[in-house]
């Protein structure tokens, strides 16, 4: 006992002293439990053609209908897209696009006519889309101060270092600070329906309800609490360099002004990919069926946002949505493809199983 316990413990450099004596006579025999003897009941799947066959077929059979369903759903979504960047000289916005400046004093407006071939029912969403705009750039993504946007007074006056070099301008703190805010999309889009009878009817665009609920009511807050006088609240701060007007003049509506302006909030949610769209307005189902009837429309753009410097593109998108979001046939196709592949592989395995698997399965061995 001394010897063995010594050697068991000697890694500690100890001489083990068995003191007292009593009770140490217990056998060292290991317990015969399933766990300790590694005999836990277990499911042991063996991957052979025969055993995995059903899985492949089942996956195939489930995925193909899902894929068809998704594809059909996606196809039912109506979407209209118009590029108004004005790269082309023939484009109505070509002139406006020549200005690379953020702060051109005179707003440039261009009008783009288009024709909707299908009537759009239900809520129609109006997006603006940017291409080649790397909102996911590492330094860009970081360049914001969330506590400032949360309405923190200290951060308002002393923006976080993350906002550098867009934290201060002329020794005044920028509100909202950071590169994201600074580069906020500032085109104004207006939609007119050209009645067949020649009148231009402006389509009412709702600029609220486009941001995440939690963003609007939790994450973003104007400083000074419920103080309605935003001008006073933002006293001592300056507007971002590229902006034309300060943050407290984004909207007349006080519940959509300042940091809780929804266009601003939407912009602040940085896009994942360089080609992205952002919700601009919603066109509510106005009981006038359909929401957007077939016909001619005019898009009027106040062209402020320069994208030509980085080869960017600007688009306006009108879209209805379904339960699965916007129009995107990919998922349906993906399901169809994977389902078919599974089915095909299942067939292959079936052949393999019939040709070679016979002698291997257990039935044969037991013969």
């Amino acid at each position: 006992m001394m010897a063995t316990s010594y050697s068991a413990k000697d890694e500690d450099g100890q001489i083990t002293v068995s003191g007292g004596g009593g009770g140490s006579l217990r056998s060292r025999k290991p317990e015969n439990t399933a766990f300790k003897q590694q005999r836990l009941p277990a499911w042991q799947p063996i991957l052979t053609a025969g055993t995995v066959l059903p899985a492949f077929f089942i996956i195939g059979l489930i995925f193909i209908p899902i894929g068809i369903g998704l594809y059909v759903t996606s196809n039912n979504i109506k979407e209209f897209e118009i590029d108004y960047t004005g790269v082309d000289t023939s484009s109505p916005c070509f002139n406006c696009s020549q200005s690379f400046s953020w702060n051109s004093s005179r707003p440039c407006t261009c009008t783009i006519p288009f024709y909707l071939e299908q009537p759009y029912e239900g809520n129609v969403y109006m997006y603006y889309g940017l291409s080649n705009f790397y909102q996911n750039h590492r330094r860009y993504v970081k360049s914001r101060d969330d506590s400032q946007l949360h309405g923190d007074m200290d951060s308002l006056l002393e923006p976080s270092k993350e906002c550098e070099p867009y934290a201060k301008h002329d020794n005044k703190p920028i509100a909202p600070c950071g590169a994201i805010a600074n580069s906020m999309f500032n085109d104004t889009l207006e939609l007119f329906f050209n009645d067949p009878n020649g009148t231009k009817v402006q389509i009412p665009l709702a600029n609220t309800g486009i941001a995440w609920f939690t963003d609007k009511y939790v994450k973003f807050k104007n400083p000074g609490g419920d103080n309605a006088n935003l001008t006073a609240v933002f006293q001592g701060t300056t507007k971002p360099v590229n902006w034309r007007k300060p943050v407290y003049e984004l909207d007349k509506n006080t519940s959509n002004n300042g940091f809780i302006n929804e266009d601003f909030i939407v912009w602040m949610r940085t896009a994942a990919l360089p080609t992205f769209r952002k919700l601009y307005r919603t066109i509510k189902d106005s009981k006038m069926v359909p929401t957007l009837p077939r016909g001619n429309y005019t898009l009027e753009v106040v062209y402020n946002y320069p994208v030509r410097s980085f080869e960017g593109r600007k688009r306006m998108i009108l879209s209805t949505i379904s339960w699965m979001g916007g129009k995107n046939p990919f998922l349906g196709i993906a399901y169809l493809t994977v389902g078919s592949v599974c089915f095909f592989l299942g067939v292959v395995l079936l052949v393999v199983h019939h040709k070679c698997g016979n002698r291997n399965n257990s039935a044969d061995i037991s013969n």
């Binding site: 001489i15 002293v17 004596g21 995925f63 330094r139 070099p165 896009a271 994942a272 410097s309 994977v338």
Partner: protein, 1498 residues
Amino acid sequence: MARDTGDPGMDKTPKVKRQRRKKTKENKTRTVHANILYDHAKGEENPNRHYANNKIKTTKYTVLSFLPKNLFEQFHRFANVYFVFIALLNFVPVVNAFQPELALAPVVFILSVTAIKDLWEDYRRHRSDKEINHMDCLVFSRAERRYVEKYWKEVRVGDFIRLRCNEILPADVLLLSTSDPDRLCHIETATLDGETNLKQRQVVRSFFDLDCDFDPLKYSSIIECEKPNNDLNRFRGYIIHRSGRRDALYKENLLLRGCTIRNTEEAVGIVIYAGHETKAMLNNNGPRYKRSKLERQMNVDVFWCVIILLVMCLFAAVGHGLWMFQYGDKRPVFDVLSPEGTDLSPIMSAIYLFLTMIIVFQVLIPISLFVSIEIVKICQVYFIHQDMELYDEETDSHLQCRALNITEDLGQMQYIFSDKTGTLTENKMVFRRCTVAGVEYSHDANARRLAMYQEMDSEEEECTSHGGTLPRRDSVASHQSAKVVLRSQSTKSHRRTGSRAEAKRASILSKHTAFSSPMEKDITPDPQLLDKVNECSSQMEFMRFHSQPASHLPSDLADIIDFFIALTICNTVVVSSPNQPRQKVRMRFELKSPVKTIEDFIKRFTPSRLTSGSNSSSSSSLITNRSSNKGCASMLSSPSAESTLTKLDEEKHSGSLQHAFSPMPPCYDGKAWNVEEGELRYEAESPDEAALVYAARAYKCSLVGRLPDQVTVELPHLGKLSFELLHTLGFDSTRKRMSVVVRHPLTDQITVYTKGADSVIMDLIKPPDTGNSKGKRQKKIVSRTQNYLNLYAADGLRTLCIAKKIMSKEQYACWLQRHLEAETAIQGREELLFDSALRLETNLHLLGATGIEDRLQDGVPETIASLRQAGLQIWVLTGDKQETAVNIAYACKLLDPEEEILTLNADSQEACALLLEESLHYIQAKFLCSSSDQSTKAFHNNFVPFDIYSSSSPSSSSSSHTAPFTVHRLGLVIDGRTLAYALDKSLEDKFLAVARSCRSVLCCRSTPLQKSMVVKLVRNKLKVMTLAIGDGANDVSMIQVADVGVGISGQEGMQAVMASDFALPRFRYLQKLLLVHGHWCYSRLANMILYFFYKNAMFVALIFWYQFYCGFSGSAMIDQWYLIFFNLMFSAFPQLVTGTLDKDVSAETLQQLPQLYVNGQNSEEYKPYMFWMNMIDAFYQSLICFFIPYFAYADSDVDLFTWGTPITTLALFTILVHLGIETKTWTWMNWLCISFSIALFFTVALCYNASCPTCYTPSNPYWTMQRLLKDPLFYLLCIITPIAALLPRYFYRACQGTLFPSPVQVGRQLDKLPAETRRNILSLSRVKVGSPLSPKPLFLSLGTPSTTDCSKKDQRGFPSSKTTQGPVLQTEQQGQRRGPTDSERGLSDLYTLVPTEIDTLPYTKDAPQLSEEPQPPPTKDSECLENSLEASDLSLSSWITSTPLLPQTDSIHLNLPPDGGSHCVRYTRDLEEKLKSAAQRSEQETEQEKEQSLHISL
């Protein structure tokens, strides 16, 4: 005298100081003064103050030093430094990718986990230190003038301590006094070396005759000894008395810390070394850290990961540079300036980005891998510990994993190097037969008895297996638990060998003695020899009564009695009586020290004394002596000490003689005698010593008492004789012999009895003087004995030669003079003593030889057979002689009767080179060139697994023979001397080339150093994984050199175990350890490591793909929290469970199909290409996981992290399902863990996303997950992505399982079968190994041959296939039935036992035919041997046969004439056995005998 001085400290100090100064200059010794002298001069004045005190502290850290020290240690690990570097890099603003504090988290986590582990271990050490430090012992206090209780930690060097029975020694103590009248102290050193027998320690000689109680106050000597060292078996020094006299100190005087005092009521000693300077503590080196092969392989791939990482970073950096470049001067609005507002050039940005990417991709280097591996290994070790089948009930011990980090190496072994004695065999020595004066006494009855034990053994085993557990412990009440266990241990060991009833009896009788099972003790004497002994002793008695000189005895009878006396006394066996445990039998007649000085010698051996001594004087002399001594205060203080001594000597001596002839009535009737003697127990240091003593006792020659100065022997008719023991020259491995110098009480001659290995003793035999008849007779005896020795060895017996020598007084005096010089030397004492011993042991007179049987351990042949089937090459390295080793090798199936044996014996370097060259040629000629030969083909077919194995093992580039080596049916036997030549630099390649093409290699007569050299050679040159297994101290070096060292915790002590990585109770457990646990550990870890690489690569690649869509800016769509904790938390647990619990094949199947072990040997679970396959799979899967969400969300209003979170989720699902595909057994733990992981992820994500709206910049994931869970798209993605990602792997696995299943997969399929079916299949394939003596090997080949091959072979027909019809029929039918379906390889191919069985069966069938050949009886054999001996001038050339090399040659012995005159190699062929390669063991033996005799004759 000390008392006179009154205040010794005062006047001694200056002198002492001077001495100290001198000593410090020398600095090679330590001077110890008694603390008692310096009691009041504490501190400064105490000369011992520089020595360590007895407080031990094995902890590494203190409260203050823990943090810095632990961190420092952890930063020795490169990975940690790397991760800290990355974490710190995050603090640089330009490059930072994560929140700097967050980036520290994983490193801090890993460091703190390790730190907590270290802290806990340290705390455990601290607690145990404290417990030990606070044990009590009695220390002499000067103030109180008595022994007072003190804690161990207060003991200081120079303290006097008193020890009582069963106390543990607190420090290394020089023994000054004991209560034992013999001045002995018994200690048990089990804690140091595991040896359970008692060791005697002697009081320092100067205090020897001090009969009264030792008084510390009177002590005034100074001890000078060596510096502390860790050699347990050495202690040198001397004690300087006040008188200036010096006395040498030996290890016999030193009691070591940790030992336990036994059988001695009280002992007093002075502390020499304390605390950390004690030998026990210096011997504690702690556990060893090895790096396993898998880990080495893994590190290569970690390195590749680093390269991949750098490539990815470089790619991203270049991409970023180009991306920046395309914008030219027009800086886009999203390309934010650096915080300082400076504009970075594309090149600078690229450089910064490179660093950023390293941070982002850091996960690719799996930080948690190292920790996970450690955790998994600890769990694996735990399970190995818990395995019931590795638990030995008889010794109540189970497997110990001493190295915690090489479990998986067990699954990758390729070579096993095994010791023989104690490892393959029981190390239970049983006397089998002997030869005395050239006459053989075969001890047939004894052999029958042993056979009976064997039977009972197997019966009992059955009994045990049916009846469950035996009542194992006898409830012996004892004062100490440790002791009880020790006893019961020996008790249990008896049960193994005897029948149960007998065992019970034995356990009662012999519960206190090692090496004393009834099998070992109850030797049945040979009637012939017994008669002679009786006759001899009665003659001697007659002569004594008639005072005739003993020389009148006929020389053969004299030899017989001398032989038994030698057996009885030439050893270190201690006698004890069982009734009083460990209580020595007091056969005390005198009080005398061995001869220690010349004067002493002269005094003792003056003729006048001798003559007077022959007169018997009053037996009361002893008593008077003792009483006269009583009065003396201290021997040193008495000026007349010397003279007293002399006087004592004389009187004592006369006493001894008187006792030698004490009128003890000889009693002849065995019964009464047995009753008395049967009570004696012998405690021997080695089992063969005990065996010999028991053997002698069977002839009524029994050892009844042993004291340091005398041995008492009881002889028939003569009664008790006391031999005055003048010297004992202990056994050592270089001399290979031991000697005792005694004064024979009957003849009064100084006689040297030597016992040793035959090879050594035979050389020391005095060359017989051929002139007279006596000399002729002597010569005949020597040659006959030599023949019998060969016979014994051929029987697998251990042989020992017994010789004696009679010295004249002058010779002895002359020798003694120099010996004493040697003894007192401090420097080079060992060498001097060695030389001295050599001088003594010359010109011996051969008495006889003994053959001791060492039985094989249970299950050794089976284990070896299955290990070999597992593709392991087994080499046996033994110190035994060639013949013994070869026969044990046959018995344990290491060598096969069917295979050819290549024996290499060379006497010179050149000869050895030539031999090796020839062997190579032979092998090549036979096996490589003659492929058309049928039998060779059959061999090849037989050895397909070995073929696979050896061709896949990397052939060493340095080897001069780069041809692919296959392992043939060859055995190589090489002796130690040849091995020494072969291990030479110039020959080692050739040696290896020969050795590796042999199936088994046997190295005999090898020294420990050679053993380790062989292991090292094989390991380094062949680049294979080696395992060394052994049980004794001589195996330690080998165990340490091998990749995995296994110690057998057997009877030979603990040294091997201490040096080993794994300690097994029995050899046979190696099978399960390797085949099952090794396999499991390996495949689990290999799979886990591969999975880790995959997992990290897959996860990191997601971010890499994203770089293409974020301008290579180093942005990540995965929230940094997920990124950092993904590895540490979300995906960490399932793989740990799988890595710990996954079983690819069940234990039963693994053991029944050892072939599956090849899996690990070839590293099939983790090959380099697998890493790359996994990487490719990882990249594919990440592409799927990235691009499905990418396209699903393309051109949508999704934001960065709302898009990244599904990707994280998908990656998690994919990773878990991937693990699911790779998991072979699903227990509830796996289910639980996977669900836990998923639940954990969602819980954490939900909590995290709800906790704080603004805290987590920049991702700011508030309510992201919550929104995602409402999004049907998320669920659709979660379904399709993992399926699409894992489709290829799943499909591949399924196809692989069907089309080309690996053996392991087939094994798994086998597992699924109902138990009945499986048993049927396995029973076909299982190798049934019969009893050790009936070689019937069946080899199961793993891959080919197909049945078509088999049928061809059948058509071709084997010579004896007709005789095999019966048994083969069944298997053949099966083969045919299966034939048609077997167009491809598969399960049945895997177990193509059918054809192979046909291959091998004929041989066994042939056996009866061959055995009909008359087997030469031993006597005849020996006669013929003698003839050959007589014709010693036989020309060498007559042995040279010019027979051309035939491939069928059965046994090839390569021998060179020892004189080296003609360097020709001969292939001797035995004509009888050529044509069929059938072989039978006995024939092999006889041939070897002949071979051997030839060798001798040359």
